[in-house]
Structure formats: structure tokens, C-alpha cells
Amino acid sequence: MNNFGVIELASAKTTSAPGWAYVPDTGILPGSNALQPANRKRARNAPAGVTVGDLTARQEAKIRKEIEALERDGGKDISIPIPAKSGKVLMGETGAAAPGKHTPNVRKILQSQKTFSNHLDDFLAIQAQVEGGPAAVGNNRPSNASSKRPANKRDATAASTPTGSNKPTPGIQEEDVTMADADLPPVLVGQYRPPPAAHPGDNDPLLASRVPDLPSDEELRKLLAHPPLTYYETRGKWEDSYPTRVFCEVCGYWGRVRCMKCGTRVCALDCLETHREECVTRYGL
């Protein structure tokens, strides 16, 4: 996705020195760039020399590949055919349609071999088209009002409240809704029982508990009327607030040592030796 699919090779500098070293474990690892493109300006302006704490392009590609593998269902691509069913289903059919006969819609759906990611791509393409720019296809778009509107099925009745601003968009449909809601019961019923009797300590500032006021009825209605977000908008946003933890790739303990050759983290000499056997077969001496 990023860099138009061109993967930068690690520089020769890292491969030249064999052995191992303790590395200072400061700084936040940028993680996998390709999943959510990082700020390109920041990457450009970063000091060039300190590559020790950063992941190489090779490592990032590795992480990305590993996560993709983890998200897959089943070990490899498998295609299990539907068992031959000639007589069985036709006889047991109770539905309205005649057995074996589908409406055109149903036939199209049943024959579709699209996967979820195909559907998702389609959806993003439609969305980008509606918004009139290819820029909106990215995973991590800023949440503005227009991108809240999935392409093909939203109606203004449900969809005219953006999250950011609480001002309703002026429009006929919006008025319709508010008028319909005008004399309805409140969304949240307040208290069930009367508050306890007054107590002399009630006004003591030390004892006072501050409970934020419930939002107004209008505000709640607006929240409830909010249209569903799209698939990517609901994904939790990554915040660089904590340093990422790194683990030994051999035994799973903290990754305190880095292999000088390939950058893999290991915990100590024991695991490093295990790792180097593999490292040598892969990258040579």
C-alpha cells in the first residue's frame, strides 16, 4: 500500500558486522508502516544516523506478513467444495420457492465467490467515488462528516448528524425528525426513588461527590440517531502513547538483545545461539 509496493532493502551496513550487541531500548518502534502509513514528513525529518533503535524495512515487511498470516483463517488457502447434495436438499426444502429454483438476486448471491476483502475493496471504491476523490480510500482517514456517510444506502433522515460538531445540518429531513420527536418521553428516565433526607454534612466540600450531569435529551437523541460508521472508522485508533514492548523471538521473554545481522530480538546468549543457527542458514555468514 505504502510506497506503491516498493519495499526498501535494508542497507548493507547492518549485515557487515556479525555477532551481537546490547542495544539501548529507547524510542518507540514505528511498527509496521504498511498497515497504517505513518507520517511521511516525520520519517523524512528523523535523524538519519540512529537506525539502531528503528526497524529496518525488512523487519517491517516481516511484521506485516506475520500479521496477515495471523489474520487468516486456516493454515493455507483451502477450498472445500459443498458436498454433493442432489436429492437431499431438494426433498427437504420447505421454502416458498420451488425446489432448486432461485430468484435472480438469490442466484447471484449464492454464486458469488467474493471474500470479505473483495467486498470491502468494492465498498471503499464506491465510497471514494461518491466523495469525489481517490484520496479517501486510505485506512485512516480523518473523521469528517462526509466520510461518515457510507455510499449507497444512507438516507438523510438517519444520517445528517456529524460526530464532530453537534450542530444539526439544516435540512428538511432533519426538521422532520425533530418534529416527530417533539412530545416523546425522555430517553433516559431520571431517578427512580426520591433522594435521601437532607444531612448536615451535605454541603461539606470534602464530602461532595461531583457527578457530571446527564446530557440533555436532545443531545442523547442526536447520539442515538447517529448513522453507523464504516468498517475502518470503527477500528481502534493507534496512539503512540506507550512504548511498544518487544519480546525474544525464541522464548518469548523480553527482547533485550538484538542480533546484529538481522535485527531479531532475543533475550540472552542462550536464545541468541539458537537464533543464529537459523540466521546463518537464512542470511549466510
Binding site: 497504517q36 489474520e71 427437504g92 420527536d181 464504516t230 546468549l269
Partner: protein, 447 residues
């Protein structure tokens, strides 16, 4: 929209039976609610499987399967959403409408209540609606976000809130926050009166599938290759994994040390290490988790054992808690997503602060991945650290988090609310699928 609200008047009488179907990625939960009685749902694996000898099993036929090694699955539900109807129809036909189906119903006299994950793609929703009406011909239908059905429970008794005798359980619960940690992902849905607050729904793409794959990878690196035996790994995960309350400490205790002599905790197992005896599908069909016995693992014993012992034993050390840890720290594998507690906080930040106390005091965790020991304790602990001091954080897990959504939906089937949201076949034929999609996404209009 205009004609939608009142057109119910002329509609035929509501069907007596409701087929409640929680169509999950791993299992589907189905049961027929007749009148007021709620039966126990059938929990069926939602898959078509092929074993090593290339025999194919559809859904509940899997019970007859004797050899789960290298078994492969095809699932109609992908990433939580119903995608492949070819496979799903085959499973439904067999389990719900076939001759031998245990939950048997006649669609033309039945209402269908179907759950879905939030934020589905519109095209998939439309596909689903079309199949339900055009292929099966259900007389009435409601498709709702799975998490919302959890509001139709007596929430306060789950939290053991002391209450006056007078206040009966009022459903749907006024305010709650549902965390649904399933096979495909983990979602966070704040509910107000049984309706989702869409702007605050959040998702982490980590669920049971991801954890199983991760565990398979760890074991394949450290022991032997099990990447094709995900079914067995999943059983192992369910039996052995727990969410650590003290991750650093547990990791320290399971570390073998640098070079040379092993650390004492490593040798003794420190109460964390367990042995898992793998099934061989001849004498043993289920794996067994047992306490780690250091005496069994000395070199001489091992040599002696290879002669006669038939057991394949895996020693699980930090795999037991680093695997579920991913739900709380996806960044441990380099995934750029927040942990569960952080995601809940992000969800709360979308909402006015006045709702926070209510949501935080009523967090319900459902879904199969919440069954790990220590899950709710850990979530509670992390949340308390994140939210304002004044907020009480209560996290509860119902007795059976897997069927809780189904029971909630069954309760809703007997609740007057369902009449407001369900759509009849007649309405579908008159108004089309786009109208239905809009009606379902609006949900309950007013409380």
C-alpha cells in the same frame, strides 16, 4: 420512511414462532421461541470441514468426526460478517430446515431474528435480507447488532446490585457497555435503552482466530509444527490460556535464564507451567491439561520414556498468558491497534462525559474469547487506571458468555419492542431491500 411506521396495522397477525439465530463465525446459536417459552439454544459449529481422509462434514456432523488432525475448515462467516452464502445456505438447510434438523421450522410461519456484527458492509446486509425473504420466505424478520440484544437481560442481577424489592428488572437495560470478544474480532458497543450509540462503537481486530493462529505459531517455533492443526491448538488454547494479572512477574517466572544453569522457577514450573498431552485420536480424543511435573522432564526420564510412552506432551510456559495478552496489547505482535481498555476509553471519548459513569458501571463482556480466566479482572484493573477516579468500574461476565446474546435476543422476541422493528415479507415486497436496510439501521426509533 414515511409509510414505514404505521403500515404495521394492516399486517397479518404476528407469527407465533420466532427463530432466534445468532450466526457467529465459530458457532451458530439457534433455537425456536414459541409463545413465551424459551428453549435452550443449539450451539452448532458454523463450518464445513474436511478431515485428513478428505471426508466432508457439514456443521453438526462434525460431532461424528473422530480424527481432528489436519482438519480444515471453510466458514461462511468471515471477519465476523456473513459473506459466503453458498456455504451458509448449506448449513442452514441442514440444521434449520432439513428433514433431520433438530431446530425445525417452517419459514412461512416464522419470524427470524438474526444477529450481525456492527458496521457491516451495506452490500452484505442487503444480500442477507434478500436471501432471508426471497430464498427462505420468512414471514417476518429482524436483523440487529448482536451486542444490542444483551440489553434484554436483568442486568442488575448480573452485577448483584442491591435493589429495592419494588423495582422489577426493566428491559431493555437503560445504559450499558457491551464488549463482545468473539472469534473474529472484539467490539465495544455502548447501548442506551437497547440501542447502539453508533458513533462510539469501536473494534479491535483480535479475536479467537487470531489468538489461535498466534499460539500455533509460537508452538511451531518452539516445539513442533502445528500450523495445520488449528483445531487442536484451539482446544489447547481454551484449556490452558489465561489472562495474567501480573504479566511482568509471570514472564519473569517462566524465563529459563541466560546461559548455563536454569533458573529455579523454570525448573519447578512456578505454578504456571503446564503439560498438555496431545490427542492421538486412537486412544485419546481430547487433549489433557495437567500439572507440570519437573521429575518427568529430567533428561534420563525422557530417554527412558521414549521407549514405551505413547504420549506427545507439550510443555506450555509463557504461551499460556502471552497469547490472550494480545487482546490487551495488540502491539506485542506489531499490530498498530490499541488494547481493549484503551479502545474502551476511545469509545467513551466519543460520548458526553455525563454518560461515562453509567457506561463504566455496567460493562458486560460476552463472546467466547472472554472465557479466559482473569479476563474481566484484568479489564477492570486496566480501566480503573484509565478513567476518572470518581467513576465506579464494574465488569461482569454472564454465566455463559457464548449464548448470552442468543438468550437476550430470545427475550426480545417476547418483548413488545420487536413489533416496532421487525419487517414483514409483505413490507419487503412493497418497499424493497434498501428500505429494509434503512429501517434496520435506524432500529428502535423511540424508547
Amino acid at each position: 420512511m414515511a409509510g414505514g411506521r404505521k403500515s404495521k396495522v394492516a399486517a397479518p397477525a404476528r407469527p407465533q414462532n420466532t427463530l432466534v439465530l445468532d450466526n457467529g463465525a465459530w458457532t451458530l446459536k439457534a433455537g425456536l421461541v414459541c409463545g413465551g417459552s424459551i428453549p435452550e439454544p443449539r450451539v452448532i459449529q458454523n463450518c464445513i470441514a474436511r478431515d485428513r481422509s478428505r471426508k466432508i462434514y457439514v456443521a453438526s456432523e462434525l460431532d461424528k468426526c473422530r480424527d481432528f488432525s489436519e482438519i480444515q475448515f471453510r466458514r461462511p462467516v468471515e471477519k465476523g460478517y456473513l459473506v459466503n452464502w453458498e456455504a451458509q445456505k448449506e448449513i442452514w438447510d441442514q440444521e434449520l430446515f432439513g428433514d433431520k434438523a433438530q431446530v425445525k421450522c417452517d419459514p412461512s410461519e416464522t419470524r427470524l431474528m438474526l444477529t450481525e456484527q456492527p458496521n457491516a458492509l451495506p452490500v452484505l446486509q442487503t444480500n442477507c435480507d434478500q436471501i432471508v425473504f426471497e430464498e427462505y420466505g420468512f414471514s417476518s424478520y429482524y436483523r440487529g447488532v448482536g451486542a444490542t440484544f444483551n440489553a434484554y437481560h436483568d442486568l442488575q442481577s448480573l452485577f448483584r446490585t442491591p435493589k429495592d424489592a419494588l423495582t422489577a428488572a426493566n428491559t431493555p437495560a437503560e445504559i450499558m457497555l457491551v464488549v463482545d470478544s468473539g472469534f473474529s474480532h472484539t467490539t465495544i458497543t455502548p447501548l442506551l435503552g437497547g440501542r447502539p450509540l453508533h458513533s462510539a462503537i469501536r473494534r479491535i481486530d483480535i479475536g479467537g482466530k487470531f489468538l489461535t493462529n498466534y499460539m500455533a505459531r509460537l508452538i511451531s517455533l518452539r516445539h513442533f509444527d502445528m500450523r495445520n492443526d488449528l483445531y487442536i491448538v484451539n482446544e489447547m488454547k481454551e484449556a490452558s490460556c489465561y489472562v495474567s494479572a501480573d504479566f511482568k512477574g509471570d514472564l519473569e517466572r517462566t524465563w529459563k535464564g541466560t546461559r548455563g544453569e536454569k533458573r529455579e522457577d523454570y525448573i519447578s514450573g512456578a505454578g504456571i507451567v503446564k503439560d498438555y498431552v496431545l490427542p492421538d485420536f486412537h486412544t485419546r480424543h481430547k487433549g489433557i491439561l495437567r500439572e507440570y511435573d519437573p521429575a518427568q522432564h529430567t533428561k534420563s526420564k525422557k530417554l527412558a520414556a521414549t521407549g514405551h510412552s505413547e504420549e506427545d506432551v507439550l510443555t506450555l510456559r509463557n504461551e499460556r498468558f502471552t497469547v490472550p495478552e494480545l487482546i490487551f496489547r495488540p502491539s506485542d505482535v506489531g499490530m498498530r491497534q490499541p488494547g481493549l481498555a484503551d479502545a474502551i476509553q476511545q469509545s467513551l471519548h466519543e460520548l458526553p462525559i455525563g454518560l461515562w459513569p453509567g457506561l463504566l458501571a455496567n460493562i458486560v463482556v460476552v463472546g467466547g474469547s472472554s472465557l479466559f480466566d482473569g479476563f474481566i479482572q484484568r479489564l477492570q484493573k486496566e480501566l480503573v487506571q484509565l478513567v476518572p477516579d470518581d467513576c465506579i468500574v464494574r465488569v461482569a461476565r454472564p454465566a455463559d458468555p457464548i449464548t448470552n446474546t442468543w438468550y437476550g435476543a430470545a427475550n426480545m422476541a417476547n418483548h413488545p419492542n420487536i413489533e416496532k422493528v421487525a419487517v414483514t415479507k409483505q413490507e419487503y415486497e412493497e418497499n424493497g431491500s434498501a428500505w429494509i436496510a434503512r429501517k434496520f439501521s435506524t432500529g428502535l426509533l423511540t424508547p
